[in-house]
């Protein structure tokens, strides 16, 4: 491929690519994102290729291995064009049928379609599935049309048009102005206006300047940046080059976690292709602007996502936050001005340049514009990636898109913003999701993690989980964060084990205040959020643990006892046989009894007892009823 040397050449190439493509030719897109690969997409793709070869359809059908479209719950996902038929949970065995029925006969296979859980109706087209219908997918919507390893696919959907526009039709000042007017705020957590940061770095009279992509997404359960980087790496590269042009930087870094091998691979390929085509390197598109990108793989520390720690890591040192009251935008990598943006922030930039700030600001709320991708996980029917306009309420996201809570359970809370975010209870479900509203509730947008919890979730246990995570992931440098977290964990462990004391809640609150005020970096100052918000909204649950030794959600092992309801026990011996410590006595026609002294509270009996009996119950906060005397244990069955 010859380098593209002008805007005209770029458009000619684009026309050439498009003209080669027959819009009516059947095209099978299979998600090859990490989620679908985990549920067997690789085998589906192999079977698909095999079958097409067998049937001699090589020339008639295109296969596309794409990035993640978000509905990971129902992977592997397949979309067949031009009809846009969406098949979910496709297995290799379904392939021959798909080829013979859908491809050859143009017939839809009902079995593989999405079924609406309430109405039982089948949904044929991807865009009509409620999960997708209620989203506004500006960033990940095109993933299903793109093979992330192919720059042509990206060009076909208008890729690098924004870069050409910025380079040839706009001055850096104009680009800056446009992004400023779009009020694009950082998607990595803080929500700091991107243009303001760009301007700061741009105005520092020191060279060289660096631009960096933060792809060190370490929150448990979050994979927004991963999906963008894996599924559409060129969009991030395009945004990065535009930011570099605006700032006046000629070298950039992509800091990506080592744990994202596919993202690393796709980004590497994308950089190589972009260099070949002239979107990177010397004299980009013949504009005279030079810019190169290096990929830096993170070594697995959560704290390296913090801006100064990330820059220290790029310098080759241990990723630890710097003790400096000077912004990295002014003095970052090797004390040079360094602009750091999140993956999602940069992916938005080409959209803003192409469509204009007015278009962008028409989406979202007063203070937060555009869309935001969330990874919706936990106790929700449709887990996956969702992209919604800013300002959509939590309720809409969880119920309309997420499909509500599985198993008719009650919603309890949603945790947003990752380990340093907060827990939001039901009464705030109608809160519009934007940067400022979430902060008001004591939580934060973070990078977009959203963990839904139902009534079976103990919030104290959740707080303990996050504190435990941060104990390992704090860098350990400053005392409030390291020692504070350690003792928080200690106190929380005591509480969930029923050893809580009067005053523990106040102590936790005091520690939270200290950490928030005195810690060195943002990880430390926000580390107490899970604890402080759970105390704020679920204080009574803490009290129950401490004062009554009761876990209302029946989760905390040490506070829960298992008991067999004599009136319900059918003496089926399932629990008895499954008990690993032989704590259950009983026999044929003998009502089973748990020996509380032997019971290790593993819960196997609870799970084993057939639901129609429901004889094994959990008890917390009250004494276990005395066992039946031995002579009364004979089971008298009613006549059928």
């Amino acid at each position: 491929m010859a380098r593209i040397n002008s805007n005209t050449e770029l458009e000619e190439l684009r026309q050439e690519i498009l003209s080669k493509r027959d819009q009516n030719k059947p095209r099978i897109a299979v998600c090859a994102g990490t989620g679908c690969l985990a549920s067997g997409a690789a085998k589906v793709i192999a079977a698909l290729k095999e079958e097409i070869k067998k049937q001699g359809l090589n020339a008639d059908v295109d296969i596309k291995e794409t990035g993640c479209p978000g509905f990971c719950e129902r992977g592997p996902i397949m979309v067949i064009y031009p009809e846009e038929i969406c098949y979910l949970q496709v297995k290799p065995d379904d392939i021959p049928e798909i080829i013979s029925e859908t491809i050859k006969e143009r017939k839809v296979i009902d079995r593989l379609l999405y079924t609406d859980p309430t109405t039982g109706e089948k949904v044929t087209h991807e865009s009509e599935i409620p999960f997708y219908k209620n989203q506004k997918r500006l960033l990940i919507g095109t993933n299903i049309n793109i093979d992330p390893k192919s720059i042509e696919d990206y060009l076909a959907i208008g890729g690098y048009r924004a870069l050409a526009k910025a380079l040839f039709d706009m001055t850096p000042e104009q680009v800056l102005e446009e992004v400023k007017r779009a009020n694009l705020r950082g998607r990595g957590g803080g929500g700091f206006p991107a243009a303001k940061k760009w301007e700061t770095t741009r105005n520092v009279p020191r060279e060289p300047k660096y631009v960096i992509v933060n792809a060190d997404e370490g929150d448990p359960g979050a994979f927004m940046d991963r999906a963008v980087l894996e599924g559409n790496p060129h969009s991030v590269l395009e945004g990065l080059v535009i930011s570099a042009y605006t700032i006046g930087s000629h070298e950039g870094f992509i800091y990506v976690r080592q744990e994202y091998p596919l993202a690393v691979e796709n980004v590497d390929i994308a950089i190589k292709q972009a260099e070949e085509y002239g979107f990177l390197g010397q004299n980009i598109l013949g504009s005279g602007f030079d810019f190169i990108v290096n990929v830096h793989r993170g070594a697995g520390a959560f704290v390296s996502g913090e801006s100064s720690a990330l820059m220290t890591a790029i310098e080759g040192k241990v990723g630890e936050p710097r003790p400096k009251y000077i912004r990295t935008a002014v003095s970052g990598i090797w004390e040079r001005p360094s602009n750091l943006n999140n993956v999602e922030t940069l992916a938005n930039v080409p959209l803003i340049i192409n469509n204009g700030a007015e278009w962008f600001t028409s989406i979202g709320t007063e203070g937060s514009k555009g869309t935001k991708i969330f990874s919706l996980v936990g106790k929700v029917n449709n887990t996956g990636l969702v992209e919604v306009p800013m300002g959509m309420s939590l309720r809409e996201i969880i119920y309309n898109i997420g499909g509500g809570i599985p198993g008719d359970k009650k919603f309890k809370a949603v945790q947003t913003g990752g380990p340093s975010g907060g827990v939001i209870p039901e009464q705030y479900l109608d809160t519009p999701v934007d940067f400022d509203e979430l902060t008001k509730l004591g939580s934060m947008m973070g990078s977009g993690g959203m963990i839904v919890m139902d009534e079976d979730t103990c919030v104290v246990d959740v707080a303990r989980y996050f504190v435990d995570f941060l104990c390992d992931e704090s860098c350990g440098k400053c005392i409030p964060c390291r020692e504070g977290l350690k003792h928080m964990r200690e106190v929380l462990n005591n509480i969930v084990e029923g050893k809580g004391n009067e005053g523990d809640i106040e102590l936790l609150e005091e520690l939270s205040r200290l950490m928030t005020k005195a810690s060195l970096c943002a990880l430390g100052t926000s580390a107490a959020n899970p604890v402080s918000t759970t105390i704020r909204y679920f204080g009574d649950e803490y009290q129950a643990h401490i004062k009554e030794s009761k876990c209302p959600a029946l989760v905390c092992k040490e506070l829960v006892s298992y008991y067999i309801e004599p009136s319900k026990c059918q003496a089926c011996m399932i629990c008895l046989r499954n008990c690993p410590v032989e704590a259950i006595s009983g026999g044929k026609n003998q009502i089973h009894v748990i020996d509380q002294a032997k019971c290790i509270k593993c819960g196997v009996c609870f799970d084993a007892c057939p639901t129609r009996f429901g004889a094994v119950i959990k008890i917390s906060g009250e004494p276990v009823p005395a066992s039946l005397p031995e002579k009364e244990r004979s089971l008298v069955r009613g006549k059928k």
């Binding site: 520390a301 704290v303 241990v318 003790p323 400096k324 009251y325 000077i326 941060l470 104990c471 390992d472 992931e473 704090s474 860098c475 350990g476 440098k477 400053c478 005392i479 409030p480 390291r482 020692e483 504070g484 977290l485 350690k486 003792h487 964990r489 200690e490 005053g503 102590l507 005091e510 520690l511 200290l514 005020k517 005195a518 810690s519 060195l520």
Partner: protein
């Protein structure tokens, strides 16, 4: 540079750009607690103790003063209720981690923290990072650093010592241990090199000293010196902390030794003696058994300005109940020195007297003969006897720590023959002082060669005549004084030195030197510059002229012995007065 005005605790202060709040607070005498801060190291921001409340651009917040740069109009409150509450809790957290560390206990007392509400640990390290920073930033080797993160963070060597690799980078300089505020670093555990303390020469190794030190309290000039072999800067080129801290900028790493040439007419050699090292006498156990010390070591120990401030201490820190002083160690001994060192009897008795004065210990003197020959010496001997020192005549055969009876358990036992009662005895004591001999300096040979003076069989410099010329040497203008000529005590040394000075003064006041009438003279026209004459001259009277490539005779030194005349292969040298030809002519005349 523009000055910045800020306000700290209500007091206005002007600061240079780049200074921190902590710098300025210090200049005002405002105390802000710190733990991880060190003026020679980059700020770290880990302990957060130096947190203060600031109002900057109308916004109030908490920042760490050690790294917050001063800015115009900044208002700082170092002791706001928020700050105090925050520090108090930090101290509580630290006390929970390190309940047995002095500096933390002191802080706890200051902030009124009694018992932490948290689970107690027993750590010593507070993870302030001073050690890792000094090793990296100042020593320049980074032999230790933090490993792990979060609550598992700790300071470690590379690979945590689990791999059997040579951790060469550590210089074993001890900077980490010296900067540690909690004494958490044991050098032995940190490095796989053996820490070698720099022992104080002046205190004969009884204490260590720093690489920059004042040699001894009465040193002239009384200024510190840098030990180039030990100073980290001279090893790695880094550090230079002392330079930063020396306010008058007196430290000059470029300074070199200077060789100063002085032209003089007379020289008095007074190079002193060397104290005999008793380690070769294996049976006395010096260096092998604890609490066997030399008289010089004990002398430092008993000195009130010494390392123990005059306290007599055993190795384990306790006070000895009995001390034996052994005379004639290395002297009057045909294996080492046959001569009597002349001073040991008296200084041993002085030590006995000092022990009696400083402690309750029983003192034994084990002697061969008591030689208290000087003025007042015998009287002193009697006084020491009266003080209760026990004198035993007999030269010890062995000092051992192997007990034979329960009373000897844990003691040093001196085995000897008491020659006054003619019986073998064993004497258990806590400490043994070896009264070591005085011997010639190890470089006496080189010095003798330099000045062309002779040495007697015992190695000391030889005087011209023991009775008639006791301070002169065989080389004119070179005199000896003091112990370099032979063991002697202070009065004798002073007397001899005065005599040498008088000899020199006599020469100076005369203003001229009488030379031998018949001295050798070299005919430069014939001299080939072979320097044989220089070799054969016993009086160093011949010099070689590098420029003219000929030899020349110094008439002031020449004794006219004629050795060079006979030695010259080209007959270039003649003695003054009668030439060879004249003598031959005279002889011929007599024979005719």
């Amino acid at each position: 540079m523009d000055e910045i005005t800020l306000q700290i605790d209500g007091r206005e202060v002007k600061a240079e750009e780049g200074k921190t709040i902590l710098d300025m607070a210090k200049s005002l005498g405002i105390d802000i607690p710190t733990l991880c801060y060190h003026p020679a190291l980059s700020p770290f921001g880990a302990c957060r103790l130096c947190s203060v409340e600031i109002i900057s651009r109308g916004r109030s917040r908490i920042v760490t003063s050690c790294n917050y740069p001063v800015e115009e109009g900044l208002v700082v409150n170092t002791k706001s209720p928020d700050v105090i509450e925050l520090r108090k809790m930090l101290v509580e957290l630290m006390l929970a981690r390190c309940p047995n560390v002095k500096i933390i206990q002191d802080l706890a007392k200051e902030y009124g923290v009694e018992k932490p509400r948290f689970k107690l640990e027993d750590e010593k390290c507070i993870l302030c990072g001073l050690c890792t920073r000094i090793c990296d930033e100042r020593i320049g080797v980074s032999a230790i650093n933090f490993v792990g993160r979060g609550v598992d963070r700790k300071v470690e060597t590379p690979f945590q010592g689990t791999l059997d690799i040579d951790l060469d980078v550590c210089l074993c300089c001890g900077a980490c241990a010296s900067v540690c505020p909690t004494d958490a670093i044991e050098l032995e555990d940190t490095t796989n090199k053996k820490p070698i303390p720099i022992l104080s020469e002046y205190n004969v190794g009884l204490e260590s000293r720093a690489p920059v030190y004042i040699p001894f309290p009465q040193a002239v000039p009384n200024v510190p010196v840098i030990d180039r072999e030990k100073c980290v800067h001279f090893v790695t080129g880094e550090c230079k902390i002392c330079e930063e801290f020396c306010e008058p900028n007196a430290i000059d790493f470029e300074q070199e030794d200077e060789i100063i040439e002085v032209e003089v007419g007379n020289i008095i050699v007074a190079t002193g003696f060397n104290a005999f090292d008793p380690s070769p006498i294996y049976q006395y156990g010096y260096g092998r058994l604890d609490n066997v010390v030399t008289s010089l070591e004990f002398e430092r120990m008993v000195n009130s300005a010494g390392p123990t401030e005059g306290e007599i201490l055993l190795k384990d820190g306790s006070h000895p109940k009995s001390i034996a002083i052994i005379h004639c160690v290395g002297s009057r001994d045909e294996k080492y020195h046959e001569y009597c060192s002349r001073v040991c009897c008296m200084y041993s008795m002085k030590l006995a007297h000092l022990i009696k004065e400083h402690s309750e210990a029983e003192v034994y003197e084990l002697y061969i003969d008591i030689r208290s020959f000087g003025k007042g010496f015998e009287e002193f001997y009697n006084r020491v006897l009266d003080e209760g020192t026990i004198f035993i005549r007999g030269r010890p055969a062995e000092i051992t720590d192997i007990a034979e009876t329960p009373e000897e358990e844990g003691k040093l036992i001196v085995q000897f023959e008491d020659t006054l009662i003619g019986r073998q005895r064993r004497l258990p004591v806590d400490m043994i002082i070896l009264s070591v001999a005085l011997e010639a300096q190890p470089d006496a040979e080189a010095v003798a060669r330099l000045f062309n003076i002779s040495r007697s069989a015992d190695g000391f410099f030889l005087e011209k005549h023991p009775k008639l010329d006791p301070v002169a040497t065989m080389t004119d203008g070179i005199f000896v004084a003091g112990c370099c000529q032979g063991p002697k005590d202070i009065p004798d040394t002073v007397a001899q030195a005065s005599a040498a000075a008088a000899e020199v003064l006599a020469m100076i006041s005369k203003g001229r030197v009488e030379v031998e009438a018949a001295t050798a003279v070299i005919n430069e026209k014939i001299c080939s510059g072979c320097q044989i004459c220089k070799l054969v001259c016993s009086f160093s009277a011949v010099d070689y002229d590098e420029e003219k490539k000929v030899c020349r005779v110094n008439e002031a030194l020449c004794k006219g012995c004629g050795a060079c005349v006979g030695g010259c292969p080209s007959d270039a040298i003649n003695l003054k007065h009668y030439t060879n030809e004249q003598i031959v002519a005279q002889m011929e005349g007599m024979l005719v």
